[in-house]
């Protein structure tokens, strides 16, 4: 697949369809690929596409859809939702963008492999459902499904929501575990209020306010975040008190509620491993149950659930009236 994509992108450079391409470039190791902007066909030599290209490239387009020349972007199926959402919000200009939708069969979490006790990894190759892992201490194997990134565990499907052309072999494959998407949210909801509080207190108190979750998020694309704006009255930088991280994460989740495509980047990048997607998914679940199924970014012309209403909407009292566990 990597070579097919590389060849095609080079062609597009050569026939002047595009002037730049956004993809991934090789890192120091086999797993640390960096998103990169390629300016010519020759640049594409270091292009890479494999099990470790998890980053969602759609947000880079905000700064790279300038008027001169077309920018090519490689989008995995889940990334196209973010792309559509950015289109909806007029943050990017499709006229200047050329999308190649590329197939994806799930991205691998290197930390999960390490957690299996596999050390000194030098190379990983995929063999069907299995990963063959070369290490300094000999060859190891594991099931790919066991080491998928959190965000891939509730894959929305292999279908691209928007593209100019496709390089994909599994476009129509349906997600296997979509039903499990809200399992953890349910689990939390079924805890007692005290247990939930303890869970989140424990998780959120790890937050170092590095803003990685915010800055990687394609929905958090504000030119200036309220939390960075000293004139907003709520600016804060580091957590001086346990309240501040709660404030930050609640408001962040609220600001992306109805706009979050559940791309999972926030959780992927959190250096402290906070399951931030569980905040976003809570909103998604509530929106789905209360206001009807909604998937942000499915198309570029939807009206978000928070800029919409029906006269019959549920009253907020339904929360306080819920049974106390």
């Amino acid at each position: 697949m990597q070579e097919v994509i590389k060849k095609r992108v080079k062609e597009l450079f050569d026939n002047n369809t595009i002037v730049r391409a956004i993809g991934w470039e090789n890192g120091e190791f086999f797993y640390d690929h960096t998103p990169a902007v390629f300016d010519s066909a020759a640049d594409m030599d270091v292009f890479v596409y494999d099990n470790f290209c998890a980053s969602n490239l759609s947000k880079y387009l905000i700064n790279h859809c300038a008027p001169e020349g077309k920018t090519l972007v490689l989008l995995k199926p889940c990334d196209t939702y973010s792309f559509n959402q950015l289109l909806t919000e007029h943050r990017i200009n499709k006229d200047n963008i050329y999308i190649i939708g590329i197939g994806c069969d799930g991205m691998v979490d290197i930390d999960k492999i390490r957690a299996l006790g596999i050390k000194g990894i030098t190379k990983i190759t995929q063999n069907g459902d299995e990963l063959v892992i070369d290490t300094m201490y000999g060859e190891k194997k594991c099931k790919k499904a066991d080491v998928l990134l959190e965000k891939c565990l509730s894959c929305k499907g292999k279908k691209h929501m928007i593209y100019d052309e496709l390089i994909s072999e599994n476009e129509d494959e349906m997600p296997q575990d979509a039903s499990k998407r809200f399992d953890l949210v349910n689990e939390l909801e079924n805890m007692t209020s005290e247990e939930r509080f303890a869970f989140w207190q424990n998780e959120l108190s790890k937050c170092i306010r590095c803003n990685a979750c915010r800055n990687i998020c394609p929905a958090c694309s504000c030119r200036k975040c309220v939390f960075d704006n000293s004139a907003s009255g709520v600016a804060s930088k580091a957590n001086a008190d346990s309240f501040e991280e709660k404030m930050f994460h609640i408001i962040r989740a609220f600001h992306v509620a109805g706009r979050c495509t559940d791309c999972g980047e926030c959780t992927r990048v959190c250096p402290q491993g906070i399951p931030l997607h569980l905040l976003n998914r809570k909103f998604i679940k509530d929106i789905n149950t209360l206001y009807g199924e909604y998937q942000a970014g499915e198309t570029a012309d939807q009206r978000g659930p928070l800029t919409d209403y029906t006269q019959q909407d549920v009253e907020p009292t339904f929360i306080s009236d819920k049974e106390v566990k």
């Binding site: 007029h90 009255g233 709520v234 800029t307 919409d308």
Partner: protein, 661 residues
């Protein structure tokens, strides 16, 4: 930092008895920004206002807080006071220490402490207030009246008489409304058509009035003084300017199966039709659903017949855009659907009719030529039974909770007319209460009972059923306290009335508030009964609440007076507490635009200088004349670019902080 003066009002003993005003004065003096504080018996009095004015001048105050009654009472007063002393009126905040404090608390210490906190919150807000200036907007000197019944007609005539242009939009092919369908009117028993049709003719003749019949309001944009309305004029397939109303086409039309709406569907009409003889405009229209030409492509008889060449099968709906300064809702009413009242057999038995149907039967132009006949066999009835409050004052949920107001009187009228014309007919009226408050109303009702021998029975009808070819009414006589089983030939249902089905959609287009029964809400039930809370929207007739004709006409005149008052102005002052977008923070995401009920937000590409970086960005712009200041947009804006003047994020948070201290 501001220099704030705080003025604590005693309101006689209303405040001072429960709140230690001196303590409040002492406490606020320590607040940041407070340069002066004092108290006085009645701040709203001349003397009180002088204290404020003098303090503003003497201490060079930049803002004031008045701790007094509700801002709904005297905010305007104190703003004027401030303005008179050279202070921007929006540098005034009121701490409501009467309604929200002294009047509801008994413990003096508790009330005093709360008053201090409320004062502190107001001070905290004023510290962040900025002077605001009211904008000006122009007034388009033309009014729109939606609905061409007696309410709309009267309003339009009055406005036109004052010299202003006025347009009427009527969804039916003719104006006249419900009143045109009535036979006689209570309590004078004069002929409805005779008093209405001259007014309809006046409308047609008035140069200031433009009629859009067979038309609907599609979209309303804008705001008081500057509404922009899209009107859809439905295709009549008859050229209005050519048709003479001669009626030849109707006599030739082979399609005769359409229900005659004017006669409540009691008889049929032709596909090409003029609703009634005095219709204004007196122009035919083609009901495309009934027309053979439209259904099969063949026929065309009317076209051949028409000597004026007025028929045009290719006519299209026409979209008209017009500007207005004021809009009057006169959308009127409909009788409710009776499908939930099966016990009366209305849908099953042709001799169970509604009162409006009876009006048509009694009318000389009606389906029976004015003769009272049973619709089942066109025979003369010997007994007629009226049932009151069908769907009115209903708490079962099947009907309406309110009293429809006109039924008692029109039933008395009907009963009296029947007894007058057909003394052989026995008339029974089942009622819950007979309500006759109105000039000559009770006298009228008593005449029905005493002079005309109408049999009034207090009690509810349990059910109506057919037996041996006639109807049986099963009821309770509450006074005699016995079950009644009554044979009768006709049953007339005094059906509840409800606002026109179009009212709710129109209200949302006009952003006029509407209540749960779909009556348009007035700005104040007592003091502003003909205005909607939305500026520039006025109410005429039953759309505001059940009314009879004289009440409707007086309200129509009142609405007209309000419209004239508005159109007479050259400029309107706008509310300065409007949304404002900081273009440096704006992402251009369009979320705010989606929730704005007034279409006040638009997006433009604009070059900005963001800390030395110059670039063109898509940014939100608020039309300050359109914005009404609800603030819905501010919460959709994640970056806080959109804020509301007078209620900024910082101001509200400052109040929160002060309260939670």
């Amino acid at each position: 930092m501001q220099k704030i003066g705080v003025f604590v009002c005693w309101c006689g003993s209303n405040i001072a008895a429960t709140v230690d005003v001196a303590e409040v004065v002492q406490a606020v003096k320590t607040q940041p920004g407070v340069a002066f504080a004092t108290d006085y018996q009645y701040m709203c009095s001349e003397a009180g206002q002088s204290i404020i004015k003098n303090a503003i001048k003497e201490h060079d105050l930049t803002g004031i807080v008045v701790c007094s009654c509700s801002p709904r009472m005297h905010e305007a007063t104190f703003r004027k006071t401030a303005q008179a002393a050279g202070l921007n009126p929006y540098m005034v905040e009121i701490a409501n220490i009467r309604e929200h404090c002294s009047w509801i608390h008994k413990d003096k210490n508790e009330a005093t402490q709360k008053a201090i906190i409320l004062a502190n919150a107001a001070v905290a807000k004023v510290n962040l207030n900025a002077p605001l200036v009211q904008g000006e907007s122009s007034v388009t000197k033309r009014a729109l009246v939606i609905g061409g019944g007696i309410a709309g007609i009267q309003t339009a005539l009055d406005i036109a008489e004052a010299g202003y242009e006025v347009d009427i939009v009527e969804k039916e092919p003719t104006i006249g409304g419900k009143m045109a369908q009535l036979d006689k009117t209570f309590p004078t028993l004069d002929c409805s058509a005779c008093i209405l049709t001259p007014k309809m003719v006046d409308v047609a003749a008035n140069e200031n009035i433009t009629l859009y019949t067979y038309s609907e309001v599609e979209q309303v944009k804008g705001f008081v003084g500057n509404f922009s309305v899209t009107i859809k004029k439905k295709a009549r397939y008859v050229k209005e300017d050519l048709c003479t109303g001669c009626g030849e086409c109707m006599s030739k039309c082979p399609s005769k199966k359409g229900k005659d709406e004017f006669n409540c569907g009691l008889n049929n009409r032709t596909a090409i039709n003029i609703p009634f003889a005095q219709a204004i405009p007196n122009v035919a229209y083609i009901d495309a659903e009934q027309c053979i030409k439209f259904k099969t492509g063949k026929c065309g008889l009317c076209e051949k017949t028409c000597s004026a060449n007025a028929i045009d099968y290719n006519q299209k709906d026409e979209i008209i855009e017009r500007e207005y300064g004021a809009i009057v809702m006169a959308t009127g009413y409909e009788p409710i659907k009776l499908d939930k009242f099966d016990e009366y057999q209305y849908s099953k038995h042709p001799d169970v009719i509604t009162s409006l149907e009876l009006e048509r039967i009694m009318n000389a132009a009606g389906p029976t030529g004015g003769t009272l006949l049973k619709m089942s066999d066109k025979e003369h009835p010997h007994s007629v039974t009226f049932i009151q409050c069908v769907g009115s004052r209903d708490i079962s949920g099947r009907g309406k909770p309110y009293c429809s107001k006109i039924c008692c009187m029109y039933t008395a009228k009907h009963a009296m007319l029947i007894r007058d014309k057909y003394p052989d007919v026995e008339v029974n009226v089942f009622y819950i209460d007979v309500r006759t408050p109105g000039k000559n109303f009770d006298e009228f009702y008593r005449r029905a009972v005493e002079e005309y021998g109408v049999n009034y029975i207090k009690g509810q009808v349990g059910k109506v059923y057919e037996k041996d070819g006639h109807l049986v009414v099963q009821a309770v006589d509450l006074i005699a306290n016995k079950q009644l089983v009554l044979d009768t030939d006709m049953v007339v249902l005094a059906t509840a009335i409800e606002p026109s089905k179009t009212a709710r959609d129109l209200a949302s287009m006009l952003t006029a508030s509407i209540d749960t029964n779909d009556f348009i809400t007035e700005a104040h039930p007592k003091l502003r009964p003909v205005e909607s809370p939305t500026a520039g929207i006025f109410l005429s007739g039953v759309c505001q609440g059940p009314k009879d004709i004289p009440e409707t006409v007086s309200q129509a005149g009142a609405a007209a007076a309000k419209v004239i008052g508005l159109l007479a102005k050259d400029k309107l002052l706008t509310n300065p507490c409007v949304a404002h977008s900081d273009e440096l923070l704006c992402n251009g995401c369009s979320q705010c635009e989606k929730v704005c009920p007034y279409g006040a937000i638009s997006y433009i590409d604009k070059e900005v200088n963001d800390h030395g970086v110059r670039e063109t960005r898509r940014v939100a712009q608020v039309n300050e004349a359109l914005c009404q200041g609800c603030g819905a947009c501010t919460v959709t804006c994640p970056s806080g670019a959109m804020d509301l003047k007078g209620f900024t994020n910082r101001q509200i948070m400052a109040e929160v902080d002060a309260i939670c201290k």
